[in-house]
């Protein structure tokens, strides 16, 4: 898994590449903890994400809790990952943009 962050005008974009599973999720957790701070917007860019296990879903849900009323969005979601959001009920919880 590779993670790239970009901060711009209070917006943090976290681009994740590869797989988020129980081995890689702790790294993503660490990065969110260290980077999020006072950001008003959090974007997860999943353009190059192949798979997300429930350890990864927990990070997304946790981040959404942490964001509270601040904006959080998951963008460029591919079919495989979107199917996971659908089957787990997360498509009702997260603000998701499917990859065109």
């Amino acid at each position: 898994m590779k993670i790239k962050e970009k901060k711009e005008n209070g917006k943090l974009t976290v681009a994740v590449e590869g797989k988020i599973d129980s081995y890689t999720a702790p790294e993503l957790e660490k990065r969110i903890k260290s980077e999020l701070g006072e950001c008003t917007e959090l974007i997860f860019d999943f353009k190059k994400l192949d798979y997300i296990s429930s350890a990864g879903l927990r990070i997304l849900l946790g981040a959404q809790k942490l964001m509270g009323n601040r904006n959080m969005k998951v963008i460029n979601v591919n079919e495989t990952v979107n199917d996971i959001f659908d089957v787990t009920g997360f498509s009702y919880i997260l603000d998701i943009e499917i990859m065109q």
Binding site: D21, S22, A55, L61, K65, T88, Y92
Partner: protein, 294 residues
């Protein structure tokens, strides 16, 4: 990394019954904030929100393994719902506490415990409170029938303490409309085991829980154990706690916890092996140092 059983129940439910799957998925949305209410009563407790529910589902998927083929849609729906609802009793309101505690059989609990210590009572009987919560608020979650509700209540209650060998409370074939039956002892044993083994560090996301601010000794011990357990592996014949600590005190507490887990495994084994056509293949718990693994 073997992801073979990831989301297995959720996928199977969608395949067998898109209608029940939709009800489940919509309930996940409805439960979001409700599960966080426990923080009002237990602000320093380990995670009991839907983040924990996700782990419980994940462990259930792993423990069930290939036996999923034998479960019908009503059983999968009831178990998934139970995984999400089993700790709702931890976050009940004061008004509901009064109402629910009139219906709960506390046995001889108050011979040794104080009636005024409500948070202790809620913690010790939260499975019963979860059951009452479900009964009262079931209409919010579009549960399809009284029989499904009964199953979800019993599975939620069954995540701790209840006697899974009791045929009246936990029948092996609870009939539901449509002709299916629900095997309550197996499903309850699964959630009990899955809940018990959710003890690894990942349970409490570091950006949500500031463990360095804890002052209560019990909380410090609890979080300390979780922090030292890096991963829980579900193997074919056992559960493995991968532990990384040099502190004897923490290690001894993990050993104590593992003994308690072994008792839960034995109880679940007894209920499932003697009463159902299913098997729980994991018969023991092992503590393994992460240093050994390296």
């Amino acid at each position: 990394m073997n992801n073979e059983y990831d989301y297995a129940m959720e996928r199977r439910l969608r395949e067998l019954s898109p209608e029940l799957h939709k009800r489940f998925a919509e309930s996940v949305f409805g439960l979001q904030n409700i599960l966080s209410n426990y923080l009002l009563i237990f602000p320093t407790f380990t995670d009991h929100t839907e983040l924990h529910s996700l782990n419980v589902i994940d462990f259930c998927n792993k423990i069930i393994g290939a036996q999923l083929e034998k479960l019908n849609a009503d059983e999968i729906y009831s178990l998934l719902m139970g995984c999400y609802f089993h700790d709702t009793g931890m976050g009940i309101t004061a008004k509901d506490y009064k109402e629910f505690s009139r219906e709960i059989d506390f046995g001889d609990y108050f011979e040794t415990h104080c009636r005024e210590n409500i948070s202790d009572i809620i913690r010790d009987f939260h499975n019963e409170f979860s059951g009452r919560f479900l009964k009262k608020y079931s209409a919010l979650f579009d549960i399809p029938s009284e029989e499904h509700l009964k199953a979800i209540i019993q599975i939620s209650r069954g995540h701790r303490k209840t006697d899974l060998t009791d045929e009246n409370e936990y029948p092996i074939a609870l009939p539901v409309s449509g002709g299916n039956t629900i095997c309550l002892p197996y499903l309850s044993a699964l959630i009990r085991l899955a809940d018990e083994i959710d003890v690894a560090a990942g349970r409490n996301l570091s950006f949500l829980y500031q463990t360095d601010l804890l002052t209560n000794e019990k909380d410090i011990i609890e979080f300390g154990k979780h922090e030292a357990i890096k991963e829980v592996f579900v193997c074919e014949d056992r559960f493995i706690l991968a532990v990384d600590t040099d502190e004897e005190f923490v290690y001894n507490n993990i050993k104590k916890m593992a003994s308690k887990m072994q008792k839960t495994i034995d109880d679940c084994q007894r209920a499932v092996t003697n009463r159902t056509p299913y098997t729980i293949t994991q018969t023991s718990i092992e503590i393994r140092s992460t240093k050994e693994q390296k």
